[in-house]
Symmetry: C2
Subunit: 432 residues, 2 copies
């Protein structure tokens, strides 16, 4: 049985989960993989923190650099996160000929080209399943199971915090602020929740998924990201009237030569499987040719699910080491040119537009006139509240239109005298 020695950098939530899973499932992993996976060294800054796993002193590295320099370490597992030390450690590990497993989405989204490129150039394996959607094997699905598919689109609920908040707003009819407090009380949202609710965490994951799907480099800066902070209970209620639900989606699409990569609140049909994804779960819907639609669902974060993905990567690389075939699945699909990403102004989709207008005759004509002159056609219209003379919400669902034209229309509409607040725009995925 081939022995594989791993060096673990970071004994936080996921790191200690990995140690625990290796202990709990050791015999099973040996049976299933034919590998004897051993923890050789662990680098951790704060050994005094209370943990439910014990790492014997002889396995404690002086520091991460000493761990990386140890000739006995086959695979460096980076679980500290962030783009500072983590980047330096991974680059150093690759330069020293170590294979790498990481769960670091921010690092890959920001510096993936450098890091993946170096691994590729050195013929080393760099696996990162845990960086996107925890236990869900979406990276493996795209890189292997769907390898022969033309990936038309990837639509993902990839942030559990946002999904929990939107699910609670939908179920309980509460506003965003209240749902956020609940999420924090439940431990689903950080004290500083901005990375999640502003859509940046989703954008990190989308940059990675879009890079794999397109075969070209999609850097974080090319991903359009909007958060869920502006979604109101009224929007969710109106969406339901049209038989839609509101989800924060990470969307990759390929149409023609250019790709789209965007994160934003989205109306999706309430009958679609993604609409049933509740609470802190994640799900990704991949449309490929010839596979058709595939949905992968599971726990997208947390210690156990993430350690499952890290272990899968360790076994994959271990199998390559045992058989002398590292680089068997190329780190990047091709010479990684930059993928041509369509600016969001150029996309075409359907829109949900909620206008805040004074309830009086002529208002609808004013709005629809501007929309019509810009070529935006209306699919449906709804005004639930009627209070003559007061400000009420009026909702229009458009057919497919160009974002540029919609923005131009809204700039004009929002200057009309009877429009009393900025119009809410939510994009619609009508045909999924």
């Amino acid at each position: 049985m081939k022995r594989i020695d791993i060096g673990l950098i970071g004994l936080g939530t996921v790191g200690s989960g990995l140690v625990r899973a290796l202990e709990a499932n050791g015999p099973l992993i040996r049976r299933n993989s034919g590998l004897d996976i051993r923890l050789r060294l662990v680098a951790e800054r704060d050994w005094r923190r209370r943990r439910d796993v014990r790492v014997p002193r002889r396995l404690r590295a002086a520091d991460a650099r000493a761990l990386i320099a140890d000739p006995g370490v086959d695979i460096v597992v980076e679980l500290i996160g962030g783009c500072g030390d983590a980047r330096r450690y991974i680059l150093e590990a690759l330069r020293r000929g170590k294979h790498v497993v990481t769960a670091n989405k921010a690092l890959l989204a920001e510096h993936g080209r450098e890091i993946l490129g170096l691994a590729q150039a050195r013929g080393l394996d760099l696996y990162y399943e845990a960086s996107v959607c925890g236990a869900i094997p979406v990276v493996k699905a795209l890189r292997e199971a769907l390898v022969s598919n033309r990936i038309r689109s990837v639509l993902g609920i990839v942030n559990g915090t946002c999904n929990y908040i939107l699910s609670r707003m939908t179920e309980a009819g509460i506003e965003f602020d209240e749902a956020l407090l609940e999420a924090q009380a439940m431990g689903y949202a950080e004290a500083d929740p901005r990375l999640d609710i502003d859509g940046l965490d989703s954008a990190h994951k989308l940059a990675i998924l879009a890079t794999i799907s397109s075969g070209g480099w999609v850097p974080l800066g090319a991903v359009h990201a909007e958060g869920i902070g502006g979604v109101t209970a009224v929007d969710i209620r109106y969406a339901r009237e049209f038989d839609y639900v509101v989800k924060l989606l990470a969307i990759y699409k390929r149409e023609g030569r250019a790709v789209e990569a965007r994160v934003h609140p989205t109306l999706i049909p309430s009958g679609h499987l993604l609409a049933s994804v509740g609470g802190a779960y994640n799900a990704v819907c991949v449309r490929g040719e010839p596979a058709g639609d595939i949905v992968l669902y599971g726990r997208g974060a947390g210690r156990e699910p993430t350690s499952s993905a890290v272990l899968a990567d360790i076994v994959d690389i271990g199998r390559n080491i045992a058989r002398g075939c590292c680089g068997r699945v190329p780190v990047v699909a091709a010479r990684m040119g930059r993928a041509p990403v369509r600016p969001v102004e150029e996309i075409e989709t359907a829109y949900y537009l909620r206008f805040s207008v004074i309830d009086r005759p002529g208002v609808l004509a004013g709005i629809t006139g501007i929309l019509g002159r810009l070529g935006i056609s209306i699919a449906s219209f709804l005004q639930i509240d009627r209070r003559a003379g007061s400000v009420v919400p009026v909702v229009i669902m458009t057919h497919r239109a160009r974002e540029k034209d919609v923005r131009r229309a809204l700039a004009r509409i929002d200057r009309l005298p009877f429009v009393k607040a900025r119009t809410m725009l939510i994009r619609v995925e009508a045909r999924i």
Copy 2:
């Protein structure tokens, strides 16, 4: 770029889909895989049949044996199905040192031990993703992504025909016979639909999933299989009253040292993701430790989805050939002893019991008395129709009970004078 030559046996629905996908996505497959996958030979009995793909004469093998004997063929792809010729061809291919890809679930369920064992013994790859749930990468997920997980259960909707029929019965309130006719008219059911509706097709797939999940051989004969022919519109209506839906599930569970492998109509909570799987789609819910629950959903049959899975297997083996690492993922997880399968009489689960009784006082006491004496406790009771003196359905949902005890109780109850038809038993998965 490494060239991989495949020999295709069978140019039917899936075979021609494979040829078409290879043509349509050739450059993409080369870019993604780094392999030049070529069709070297095709064996087909009836070249005169009309097809939408053209195979040049020089690629037409005299017969399957000539194809297998061709020294240039790296991978034999068996797409004729059945357990006769297919078995002989695959065994012959393995004896000649060829790797094999097959979509043949019946063959693996019946002769898997022989076939997988030979491949393992020869150090050859034998991949079979397409044998279970078409495009859904469930075999890869279990063998690779969840390799370090203790698989607690696998619950699958693995037969699109049955799922279509049950979905239509649920949506339209129609009876089985009518829904079957619809399925046949839509092309979702064969003229002879018994393989599907009797649960045998699902049992084939479950035997394969249970073998992978348990790491031991679960032959078809050890799978308990019941079909959907006995499910009535009344059952579906009562299930809904209890907030359940009826699905044909393939169920694998590991509890203690023994495993369960059974296919039968099942009540599942209507809020569970599997309950939302409609029409001819398939889905599989895997519960692993540490991954938690993972659901994989997609098109489970048909030409395009199946050819996607076949292509994934071809690329996987091609990568192994290119890197000299065939057998990298063992064909079977361990020395394949027979898995200890618990007889269905010994399982414990909750039950939906629909009694056909004369509506008169004392009936409930008679039934509950027998259940109580056998230690079966009642979770809820429902009688919707009231027609004193006539035969009406009465439904009882039990807590967890042993199947043996339930069967004994029903044998007694069905002999009571006021019980006018055999009691309907549907097992319940309450805690998924």
